[in-house]
């Protein structure tokens, strides 16, 4: 029997929910080309990014080159992640059971709004009006600081770069180095302006800036009752959480407060400790270009008399199961947030992170953000790449980002209605699918010879006028190759 949905007992599947609009930072206010145009005009930004990314690129290349089994490690990383995604439900339930058995409390948040409500409620219950934060992109993704602020709770960023961003009322522009768009002189200005206790004689030497931040934060650390973190990894077999960092601020946040709240995307789970061994080799080398990061903190539930006596783990979806439902796109969930793809991307290096409009910029952001929000809300991002492939080569878990970008472009075209571009593309394909039509097209194109002046074309009509804004176009030759071949 056929009939309306519901009548047959077959429910209509509306798709898995994506990250909701109106909360968090996964969507920009304007399309990428427009945001990029403004960023490209900022010469200070171009200089800062060029210098920073080339430095990290060189460091990464050096330490990756030291490992004879780098390719095998990448392969292992890719396979562990693929297995984890295939059985994500099982590993997450295992993680929940283990965390709970060891005295932690697990909360499931379907989206940013729910996660913010959970965390706000947990902080409120302690009576605290302040919290200290470990650097965490997922809490930037959900806009946690704003949510806490509207509940009268001030979240102190304790990572140096996050502090610079917070004090500057700015947005992070890089996954690993959130203030990569700022140079020393700019950071000094921000500190002098925003830190009441800053020494007026503060110089812009890195040591002086770090010391100023250290003095500023010390008081905060010692009085904080609530710590908030993200997680780099969570190990399902024991319920252990892991945060890797460079500055030691994370260790302070994870050990000093009475209450620790960790927000983690559901894709961060790993099956076992043996798997962690692979990723602790891949991540530091790919991110900071170090053999090992200075601080690796791991904790399992609550230990009486040692460290936080309350531990809450918030497992966040916010579009991740929607990404998982895309069989090709789910590979983007393998990302371990190392940011190697940003540092090698010629687009990112020139436009910076803000142009992407999402807390996840660069090549991985251009696939991850649309997967989390739904493509229509980040439709320009999959096109923000020349498909040069440098990101794929650099990715420690071998995410084929160029193919994912092409896949998302196809999904965008297939999911949106007819457009002038679609009509033009269909016409071009029709012309090229028949040799006679193709030859006729070539003859028509030869009219372009009329546009030629001095062996070049300085101005083409729309829609290709953007080409000749900065580049000459070639004048079509008097004879095509096939005409030459026929005559020879």
């Amino acid at each position: 029997m056929t009939g309306e949905p519901g009548v047959t007992g077959e429910p209509t599947f509306l798709g898995l929910p994506t990250a909701p609009p109106g909360v968090g930072h996964l969507r920009g206010s304007e399309p990428f080309p427009a945001a990029a145009r403004r960023a490209l005009a900022d010469t200070q930004l171009r200089r800062n990014l060029g210098k920073a990314t080339s430095t990290i690129r060189a460091k990464r290349a050096r330490v990756v080159g030291e490992l004879p089994d780098w390719e095998a490690l990448r392969q292992a990383g890719q396979q562990i992640k693929a297995d984890t995604m295939r059985h994500l439900d099982r590993y997450l339930e295992q993680l929940e059971a283990q965390v709970t058995a060891r005295g932690g409390v697990v909360h499931w948040a379907r989206d940013a709004r729910e996660a913010n409500q959970i965390v706000t409620g947990l902080v409120r219950a302690t009576g605290a009006t302040e919290a200290v934060k470990v650097k965490s992109i997922v809490t930037d993704e959900i806009g946690l600081n704003e949510a806490l602020a509207s509940a009268g709770i001030h979240a102190h960023e304790t990572d140096l770069a996050e502090l610079i961003v917070q004090l500057g009322r700015d947005r992070p522009s890089h996954i690993l180095v959130p203030a990569i768009h700022r140079n020393r002189a700019e950071i000094r200005e921000i500190f002098l302006r925003e830190m009441a206790d800053a020494d007026p004689g503060l110089t812009d030497s890195p040591a002086a800036l770090a010391e100023a931040a250290r003095q500023h934060l010390r008081r905060v650390f010692l009085s904080a009752r609530v710590g908030i973190s993200g997680a780099n990894f969570a190990i399902a077999e024991t319920g252990t959480l892991c945060v890797v960092e460079s500055e030691g601020n994370g260790r302070m946040c994870l050990t000093l407060p009475e209450v620790l709240i960790t927000v983690m995307g559901i894709e961060k789970v790993l099956p076992s400790w043996a798997d962690l061994g692979v990723f602790l080799q891949l991540l530091p080398r790919s991110s900071t270009g170090e053999r090992m990061n200075p601080y690796t903190s791991m904790w399992t539930g609550v230990t009486p008399g040692d460290g936080p006596q309350q531990f809450h783990l918030v497992l966040l979806d916010n579009g991740r199961t929607a990404a998982l439902a895309d069989q090709a796109g789910r590979e983007a969930l393998h990302c371990i947030r190392c940011s190697a793809c940003l540092n090698v991307c010629p687009v990112y290096e020139r436009v910076g992170g803000h142009a992407y409009g999402s807390v996840y910029p660069g090549p991985i952001g251009a696939v991850l953000s649309p997967l989390l929000t739904g493509i229509e809300d980040n439709a320009s991002l999959p096109y923000a790449s020349s498909l040069c492939g440098a990101c794929y080569d650099a990715c420690p878990v071998k995410i084929d980002i160029p193919s994912l970008l092409v896949h998302l472009r196809a999904r965008h075209v297939e999911e949106s209605g007819p457009s002038p571009e679609a009509v033009a593309m269909a016409a071009a394909a029709w012309v090229m699918a028949g040799p006679a039509r193709y030859r006729a097209g070539q003859r028509a194109g030869r009219l372009g010879r009329l546009l030629g002046r001095g062996g070049r074309i300085r101005r083409l009509p729309p829609p290709v006028s953007a080409w000749t804004a900065a580049r000459d176009a070639p004048v079509p030759p008097a004879q095509t190759f096939r005409e030459w071949w026929r005559e020879r």
């Binding site: 999959p382 492939g389 092409v406 472009r409 196809a410 297939e414 090229m432 096939r482």
Partner: protein
């Protein structure tokens, strides 16, 4: 050896000299070049812009036209990359598993010019003479999709009279990227500006590459600036001799 030439729609229509040079070079090396006239375009522009389904007839045409040949050559790393790495994907996306299998087989027999010469034919000295200062730009798809590696440079190093100079930051994209150059024209231009800075720093009179598309981009920028450096396809340099200069 009998070699089928896939000239690419771009070279056919706008840069026929790349196709002529490929023909002249292979014939000079004693091979028999055939040009199947029913060929058109590999469909890469469609696939990379999101129109994989529209590209299906182009994939089918490529497979049908070149299936009879054992060795196929294209003077383009990018089109060869699309044929090898995208044709089967397009067929699968459209649910045509049989076409996907055929596309994989034909793709494996399709070679970019420098790879055909060095890896398949085992030749590095093609007897060329080109008395100019030249810098080589390894295009992204040649480098990272096809892994041509040093093949083009090994060919260029054997050319008589050439003054080959290394391009700084050679492996960075020139900013072409197909429709990226138009959809994200500003970013594309910023990338081009840096590539031109590198090219001009070499003081070369010629910038060469294995792709007419990237050369069209770099050359379009250099021409706009009246920079005094021209772009020439790798095939043209390798085809040039003292008797028949480029």
């Amino acid at each position: 050896m009998r070699v089928a030439l896939f000239v690419t729609c771009l070279a056919d229509t706008l840069f026929p000299q790349a196709g002529k040079a490929t023909t002249a070079l292979l014939e000079r090396l004693g091979h028999q070049v055939e040009f199947p006239a029913a060929q058109t375009c590999c469909g890469q522009m469609h696939v990379n812009t999101g129109y994989a389904r529209a590209a299906l007839p182009l994939v089918r045409r490529y497979v049908q036209v070149f299936e009879p040949y054992e060795v196929i050559v294209a003077p383009s790393g990018s089109c060869t990359g699309s044929i090898r790495h995208q044709h089967a994907m397009v067929a699968r996306r459209c649910g045509d598993e049989a076409l996907a299998a055929r596309a994989e087989a034909v793709g494996a027999r399709t070679h970019e010019l420098s790879q055909l010469l060095v890896d398949v034919l085992g030749v590095e000295d093609v007897g060329a003479y080109y008395p100019h200062r030249v810098t080589y730009h390894p295009t992204c798809h040649s480098l990272r999709l096809l892994r041509v590696g040093e093949a083009p440079l090994r060919l260029l190093r054997q050319v008589r009279g050439i003054d080959l100079v290394e391009l700084p930051d050679a492996e960075v994209c020139c900013g072409f990227g197909g429709t990226f150059a138009v959809k994200n024209a500003d970013t594309s231009t910023a990338m081009l500006a840096d590539k031109m800075r590198s090219v001009l720093a070499t003081r070369a009179e010629v910038c060469t590459a294995g792709d007419s598309s990237c050369l069209m981009h770099i050359g379009g920028g250099l021409s706009r600036l009246r920079a005094g450096t021209r772009t020439v396809h790798l095939a043209e340099i390798l085809a040039a001799t003292a008797e028949r200069p480029a």
